[in-house]
C-alpha cells in the first residue's frame, strides 16, 4: 500500500484538524478523542515508514518549494533511521497524552474557568495538535529555517498552555519559560544565520560545507549553547523546575520531550554535519553533563513537591544523553538517543502520574501524601514502571539505553582520569534510584492519611494510554534491536 506524501501528511493533517476543531467547539472535551485519532493516524503512517526502513526501503525524503522569491528556500522532510524513531515516539507520546488530557483538562478547566467555558477545550486541543506538529517537524526537518520555525511551534503553544492552564503564578512562569527558551531559540537562530552566510543555504546537509571555514566553530557554538539552554544544563536550568512544575501535567509530559529533543538536534546538526568542529566541545560538554547529572540528582532528592520532583529529574536525565553524545563514540551516541527516547516515555508516565495524583487528591506535596497504592493500584503500578524506566531496570527500555551509552562513555575514558570520570558518571545513576523510588514509597506506600480515605482510582482514559507507553518501553527493552538497528547505520555514517 502506498500512502501519498506520507511525511507531508504527518505534518499537515494535525494542522488541518487543529483549524477544523475551531468549528467543533460544541464537542467540548470530546475534542480530545479527535486529537487522539488524528495523532494515532499520523503515528500509524510513521509506523508504516518505520517498517519500510526496517526492511531496508528508504530513507524517505520529500521536498517542497517554500519560497522562490527572495531566498529560494525549499522545505523537506527526511525520515531516516534516526529521525523516524524520534518523531514516532514523540508522536505516540502526544497521542497518549491527548487521551490523558480529556479527563485532566476537564478537571483543570473546571477549576480555572468554571463549567461553562467549553471554548477552552478548543483552545487547548487545537494548540495541542500544533504542539505535536512542532515536535515531529523538528525531527523530520531537512532545512534549518524550517527547523527553527518548528522549534518556535513547540515553544509558543506551550507558552499559551502554561499561561492559560498552568498552576501557581502561571503568568509569570509562562513568561519566564518563554524568555528562557527564546534565548535558546535566538542563539540557535544566530547559528543558523551564520551558517547561511557561510554556505548560502539553509539545508542541513549544507552545514558540512562549513568545515574549514573560520566561523564554523561559532555556528557550532551558537547552535550548541542555544539547545543547551533549552535542555536545561546546569547553569541554564533554573527555568525548568518552574516551567515543568507548574505546567498542566499533560503538557509537562510533552515539554519534557522538548527538553530532550535537543539531543536529537545536536546529533543531527553538530555530530552529523560538523563532527570535526563539534569535537572541540566534547570535553566541556562531558564535564557539564556530569555536573548536571549529579546536581540534578541532588536537586530532585531535595524536592517535596511531586511535580517539581519529576521536573528536576528531567534536568539530570537529559544530561545522561548529553554525556553519551559528548563521548563522540557510536555506542555513546546510539545509547544517548536510545536513552533519550526511553526517558521521555518514562518521564511522560511519571508526570502524568503526578497529574493523576493531583487531579484525584488535589495535593502535590509529598509530605501530605501516603498509602495511595491501596486506593489507586493502577496509578501506583504506573509510577513504579516509570521509575523503572528512569532508573534503568530491565525489562523496560531504560536499561538497554543506559548500558549501551555507558559502553561509549567508558570507551572514551581511555586514561586513568577518564576512567574515574566514567565511574563518577555511572555511580551518578545510583541517585536516580533514590529520587524515583523514594517518592514511590512516600506517595503510594505507608499508611493512608485519613483525609485521603475517599480518593478514587483515575478513569481508564488516563491510565490506559500510559500503560500503552510502558508497553512500548517494554518492547524496546526486550527487543532493543528494533531501535538500535534503525539508529546505528545513520550514526555510523555520520561518524568519520
Amino acid at each position: 500500500m502506498m500512502i501519498p506524501y506520507p511525511l507531508l501528511q504527518v505534518i499537515l493533517v494535525p494542522i488541518i484538524v487543529a483549524f477544523l476543531s475551531i468549528f467543533l467547539g460544541n464537542l467540548g472535551k470530546r475534542l480530545g478523542w479527535i486529537a487522539f485519532a488524528t495523532l494515532t493516524y499520523t503515528s500509524l503512517i510513521m509506523i508504516k515508514i518505520g517498517i519500510d526502513l526496517w526492511n531496508g526501503i528508504g530513507p524517505y525524503y520529500e521536498e517542497y518549494y517554500w519560497s522562490t522569491a527572495l531566498f529560494n528556500i525549499k522545505f523537506g522532510f527526511l525520515a531516516d533511521g534516526l529521525s523516524l524513531p524520534v518523531a514516532l515516539i514523540m508522536n505516540m507520546i502526544c497521542a497518549a497524552c491527548a487521551l490523558y488530557s480529556i479527563h485532566y483538562m476537564e478537571h483543570r478547566i473546571e477549576q480555572l474557568y468554571g463549567e461553562e467555558r467549553k471554548g477552552m477545550y478548543v483552545v487547548y486541543f487545537s494548540i495541542y495538535l500544533l504542539f505535536a506538529v512542532g515536535l515531529v517537524g523538528v525531527a523530520l526537518s531537512t532545512n534549518l529555517a524550517q527547523m527553527y520555525v518548528f522549534t518556535e511551534l513547540t515553544l509558543i503553544p506551550s507558552y499559551i498552555m502554561i499561561d492559560l492552564f498552568g498552576y501557581v503564578d502561571r503568568h509569570r512562569i509562562a513568561m519566564m519559560y518563554f524568555i528562557w527558551n527564546h534565548i535558546g531559540a535566538a542563539m540557535f537562530l544566530i547559528g543558523i544565520t551564520l551558517a547561511y552566510i557561510g554556505t548560502g543555504s539553509f539545508e542541513v546537509f549544507a552545514l558540512r560545507n562549513l568545515i574549514g571555514n573560520n566561523f564554523a566553530i561559532w555556528v557550532c557554538f551558537f547552535i550548541l549553547v542555544g539547545w543547551l539552554v533549552k535542555m536545561a544544563v546546569f547553569g541554564f536550568h533554573v527555568w525548568l523546575p518552574w516551567a515543568h512544575g507548574e505546567h498542566p501535567t499533560s503538557i509537562a509530559a510533552i515539554i519534557a520531550t522538548i527538553v530532550g529533543l535537543g539531543n536529537y538536534v545536536i546529533v543531527r546538526l553538530l555530530y552529523g554535519e560538523l563532527f570535526s568542529v563539534f569535537k572541540i566541545f566534547s570535553i566541556p560538554l562531558l564535564i557539564i553533563a556530569i555536573i548536571t547529572m549529579i546536581y540534578g540528582g541532588f536537586l530532585s532528592i531535595a524536592q517535596d513537591d511531586m511535580k517539581r520532583l519529576y521536573a528536576c529529574s528531567t534536568i539530570s536525565q537529559t544530561a545522561y544523553s548529553i554525556l553519551g553524545i559528548a563521548t563522540l563514540t557510536v555506542m555513546g551516541v546510539v545509547g544517548g538517543i536510545f536513552y533519550f527516547l526511553s526517558h521521555i516515555l518514562g518521564k511522560c508516565v511519571l508526570f502524568s502520574v503526578a497529574g493523576i495524583v493531583l487531579c484525584q487528591t488535589g495535593i502535590r506535596d509529598m509530605r501530605k501524601l501516603g498509602g495511595l497504592a491501596r486506593k489507586m493500584p493502577l496509578t501506583a503500578t504506573l509510577c513504579i514502571l516509570g521509575s523503572m524506566v528512569l532508573s534503568a531496570f530491565p525489562p523496560l527500555s531504560g536499561f538497554q539505553g543506559e548500558w549501551i551509552m555507558f559502553v561509549g562513555v567508558f570507551k572514551e575514558a581511555g586514561s586513568f582520569m577518564g576512567l574515574i570520570v566514567a565511574l563518577v558518571a555511572i555511580f551518578a545513576t545510583f541517585l536516580t534510584v533514590i529520587y524515583t523510588f523514594w517518592p514511590v514509597i512516600r506517595v503510594f506506600f505507608g499508611p493512608l492519611p485519613s483525609e485521603l480515605e475517599n480518593v478514587k482510582e483515575a478513569p481508564l482514559t488516563m491510565t490506559l494510554p500510559l500503560f500503552m507507553l510502558m508497553f512500548i518501553s517494554f518492547i524496546l527493552g526486550i527487543y532493543p534491536e528494533s531501535l538500535v538497528a534503525l539508529i546505528t547505520p545513520v550514526i555510523k555514517a555520520m561518524t568519520p
Partner: protein, 670 residues
C-alpha cells in the same frame, strides 16, 4: 526437547506471573494453582535436564539478540553446563515447594495477586540469571530479582503496626516499605558497580558471553593487566555486585531487615533466589580468574580470590556473632544465612587462593549451597508456621511446646542440626569440605576464623531452638492462643525438605564425590586443569576433629542455658559487665548499620535543605529575579537622564555631535 527444556524453564514462571490476572476473578484462589503449575512445569523441565549430567564442557542454545554499533553482538542464549543444571534444579525445586506452601500461608493476606505476580517473576528472574550465557542477559535476570525482592519485602506496604519488625520496645522498629527500599538501594549500588565492571571487561574483550570471556581470557585479561591497578579496580567493582546481592560485608545490612515480607518470601530470598545469585555469579566467573591467576600468572587476578575469601570468612563470623543475641526468629535465620553464604564465598575464594584447592573448594561450596538451600528453606517455612501459631515474631515470646506441633518440631530440629553441621546431616559434609580446603590451602588465619564461627553457629542455633521450644513455661502465659500442627499443605513441603536433609546427609560423601567428579571433568574439558592435578587429596582429619570440638564448645553452653534451663541467660549477662557490653555491641550489629546511616544515608538527606534552599534558590534568584532587577535598575537610571530640561538636552546633542566627529575623524582618516 532437550534444547527446549531450559528455555521453558525460565519462560514458564515468567509468564506464570501474569497468568492469574488473566483468569476470571470468580474462580477465586484456584487461580493461583495455575500460577504454581507454571513453576511446576519449570521444575519438570529442570528435571529433564538432569540426565545430561555430567556435561563435557558446555552447551549454548540461542541466537543473536542485539547487534551492537561497534560490530559485536549480544546473544540471547542459554548456557548449559554442570553448574547451571544443578542450580536450575535446586531453584526450581525449592521454589515449587515454597509456592505450594504459600498457597496455604497467604490465604486471606492482603494483596495476594501482587504476591503471586512477584513470586513467580522472582523465580523466573532467578532462572534467567542462572541460565543466561552472557552478562547482559544475566544482568536482566539479576535486576528482575532485585526488583522483585524490593516489591516482596515491602509487600505489606501500608506499614500497619503488626507488620513492623525490629524492636522490641525501647529499640526502634522498621517498617516494611522502608526495609524494601533499603534492600533496593543497597543492591542497586552493587548493580551499578557490577555494570561498570562488565562494561570495562567488555571493552577489553569485546564480548559479554561467559564462555567467550573464558576462552579469550589470555587476551583480554593480560590487556587489562597492562595498566597497573585496573584489573584490581575491575575485580572490586565486579564483586560489589555479588556481595550486595548475597548480603556480604559491607553490603550486608539489608538482609536482616528483609524479613518484613511474608515468610515464604524470606524463604525464597534466603534459600532459592536472590542471595544465591551472588554466589552463583562468583562461581560462574571463577574459572576465568583461576585461569588468569594460575595459568597466565597475572598477579592482580589473585585479588579476586583473596577478596572473596576474606570477605566471605569475615561475614561468616560477623553474622554468626550477631545471631547469638537476636531475638527475632527470622532475624536469627537471616544472620545465619549471611553467615552460611559467607562460608560459600570463603569456599569459592579458597578454590583459587592456592592452585591445589580448586576442585575441593569449588565443589564443597556448591554442595554447601545446595544443602543450605534445602535446610534453610525448611527452617524458614517452619518459622512461618511458628510465627502464625504463636502470634509473635520474638522467640522469647513464643514459648511453644514441642508436644502440640511434633512434626514441625522434629523437622526444625533436623534442619537446625544440619545448619550446625552435625554429622551425618547434609550440612556436615559440605562444611567439612570448605574447612578442610581452607586448611589445605594453608590460609590458617581464615581457617581459625571459620572454625571459631562453627562454635558460634552451634551456640546460636541451639539457643534459637531452646528458647523457641524449650523455654520454661513458668507463667503459662501462652494458653490464650491455641496452636496445633500446621496444615498439610504447609507441613509437607518442609517435611520433604527436612527428610531430604537427612537423606543427603546419609549419602553425603557419595554426592560430594559425584559433584567432585562432575566439576573436575568439566574443568578438565575446558582445559582449566591438567589431569594429574585431579588426584590431589591431602585428606586431613584435623579440620573435622576441630570442627566437632568446636560444635561441642559452642553447643554445650547453649544447651546448658537454653534447653536444660540450668541458668538464666539474663542473670549471667547482668552479672558480668564485659558480657553486657559485648551483648550491646552485637545487638547493635557491631554498629555497622548506624555507621552506614551516618556516612551515607544522613548526608544525602541532610543535603536536601542546603541544595534546595541555598544553591538552587540562590541561582534561581540570581537568574530569574536578579537579571530582571538589573534591567529594571538600568532602565530606571536611563530614565533619569531624560529630564526634559532644554539646556541638558542641548548638552546631550553636543556630546553626540562630538562623538560623531570622532567617528568621522577616525574612519575618515582611514
Amino acid at each position: 526437547m532437550i534444547d527446549l527444556a531450559p528455555w521453558l524453564c525460565w519462560i514458564m514462571p515468567t509468564i506464570g506471573s501474569i497468568v492469574h490476572y488473566l483468569l476470571p476473578k470468580r474462580i477465586g484462589r484456584k487461580r493461583y494453582i495455575v500460577t504454581i503449575s507454571f513453576t511446576f512445569i519449570a521444575f519438570i523441565m529442570a528435571i529433564t535436564m538432569l540426565p545430561l549430567l555430567p556435561i563435557h564442557g558446555y552447551k549454548e542454545i540461542g541466537g543473536i539478540w542485539l547487534s551492537l554499533p561497534d560490530g559485536n553482538y549480544v546473544e540471547f542464549a542459554i548456557l548449559i553446563d554442570n553448574l547451571s543444571i544443578i542450580l536450575t534444579n535446586l531453584v526450581a525445586f525449592l521454589s515449587l515447594l515454597i509456592l505450594i506452601y504459600s498457597y496455604k500461608y497467604m490465604e486471606g493476606e492482603p494483596g495476594e495477586d501482587r504476591y503471586w505476580f512477584f513470586m513467580s517473576l522472582f523465580v523466573g528472574g532467578m532462572l534467567i540469571l542462572i541460565l543466561a550465557n552472557n552478562l547482559i542477559f544475566f544482568f536482566i535476570g539479576w535486576k528482575i530479582v532485585g526488583l522483585c525482592s524490593f516489591a516482596l519485602i515491602s509487600h505489606y506496604y501500608s506499614d500497619e503496626r503488626k507488620y513492623w519488625i525490629g524492636g522490641p520496645e525501647p529499640y526502634p522498629f522498621q517498617k516494611p516499605s522502608r526495609c524494601g527500599l533499603k534492600a533496593l538501594f543497597v543492591t542497586t549500588l552493587g548493580d551499578v558497580a557490577l555494570l561498570a565492571s562488565i562494561i570495562i571487561i567488555y571493552l577489553y574483550s569485546g564480548t559479554f558471553s561467559f564462555m567467550k570471556l573464558y576462552e579469550n581470557v589470555n587476551i583480554w585479561m593480560s590487556e587489562i593487566a597492562k595498566t597497573p591497578g585496573l584489573l584490581t579496580i575491575t575485580i572490586l567493582l565486579f564483586l560489589c555486585g555479588p556481595f550486595s546481592k548475597s548480603a556480604q560485608f559491607p553490603f550486608h545490612e539489608w538482609l536482616p531487615e528483609a524479613m518484613s515480607g511474608p515468610t515464604p518470601v524470606s524463604a525464597l530470598i534466603h534459600a532459592a533466589t536472590m542471595v544465591k545469585a551472588g554466589v552463583y555469579l562468583v562461581a560462574r566467573v571463577l574459572p576465568i580468574f583461576y585461569f588468569g591467576t594460575w595459568i597466565l600468572g597475572i598477579k592482580e587476578a589473585y585479588n579476586f580470590f583473596l577478596i572473596v575469601a576474606i570477605i566471605g570468612g569475615f561475614t561468616a563470623f560477623l553474622a554468626a556473632t550477631q545471631a547469638m543475641v537476636a531475638i527475632e526468629l527470622k532475624k536469627v535465620l537471616a544472620y545465619s544465612t549471611m553467615s552460611v553464604i559467607g562460608y560459600m564465598m570463603l569456599g569459592l575464594g579458597i578454590a583459587g587462593i592456592s592452585s591445589e584447592t580448586l576442585i575441593e573448594g569449588f565443589t564443597s561450596s556448591i554442595f554447601h549451597l545446595i544443602n543450605h538451600g534445602i535446610f534453610k528453606a525448611a527452617l524458614f517455612l517452619c518459622a512461618g508456621v511458628l510465627i502464625h501459631a504463636s502470634g509473635s515474631i520474638y522467640i522469647t515470646d513464643m514459648k511453644l511446646s514441642p508436644k502440640t506441633m511434633k512434626f514441625t518440631w522434629i523437622f526444625m530440629w533436623i534442619s537446625s542440626l544440619a545448619l550446625i553441621g552435625i554429622p551425618p546431616l547434609s550440612g556436615f559434609w559440605s562444611k567439612e569440605g570448605i574447612l578442610s580446603s581452607c586448611y589445605i590451602s594453608g590460609q590458617y588465619w581464615i581457617f581459625i576464623l571459620s572454625v571459631l564461627t562453627v562454635a558460634v553457629t552451634s551456640f546460636y542455633v541451639i539457643r534459637l531452638m531452646g528458647i523457641t521450644f524449650h523455654s520454661p513455661n513458668e507463667n503459662n502465659s501462652n494458653k490464650h492462643h491455641e496452636h496445633g500442627e500446621a496444615s498439610k499443605i504447609m507441613l509437607i513441603p518442609y517435611g520433604i525438605l527436612a527428610i531430604l536433609t537427612v537423606i543427603i546427609g546419609i549419602v553425603g560423601p557419595w554426592i560430594k564425590d559425584l559433584l567432585h567428579e562432575f566439576f573436575a571433568k568439566e574443568f578438565y574439558d575446558i582445559h582449566l586443569l591438567e589431569f594429574h592435578t585431579l588426584s590431589i587429596a591431602h585428606e586431613s582429619i584435623i579440620p573435622t576433629i576441630l570442627s566437632i570440638i568446636m560444635i561441642v564448645i559452642g553447643g554445650f553452653p547453649a544447651y546448658y542455658v537454653y534447653i536444660a534451663n540450668k541458668l538464666s541467660s539474663i542473670s549471667i549477662i547482668e552479672r558480668y559487665g564485659i558480657l553486657k557490653a559485648f551483648h550491646k555491641f552485637l545487638w547493635n550489629r557491631w554498629y555497622i548499620d548506624s555507621a552506614f546511616n551516618k556516612i551515607f544515608a544522613y548526608p544525602i538527606l541532610a543535603s536536601r535543605e542546603p541544595v534546595a534552599k541555598y544553591i538552587e534558590a540562590g541561582m534561581d534568584y540570581g537568574l530569574n529575579i536578579g537579571i530582571p532587577k538589573l534591567f529594571e535598575f538600568i532602565n530606571n537610571n536611563i530614565r533619569k537622564l531624560q529630564t526634559g530640561i532644554l539646556s541638558i538636552n542641548m548638552i546631550y546633542i553636543m556630546i553626540f555631535a562630538v562623538f560623531l566627529m570622532f567617528i568621522f575623524i577616525i574612519f575618515g582618516v582611514m
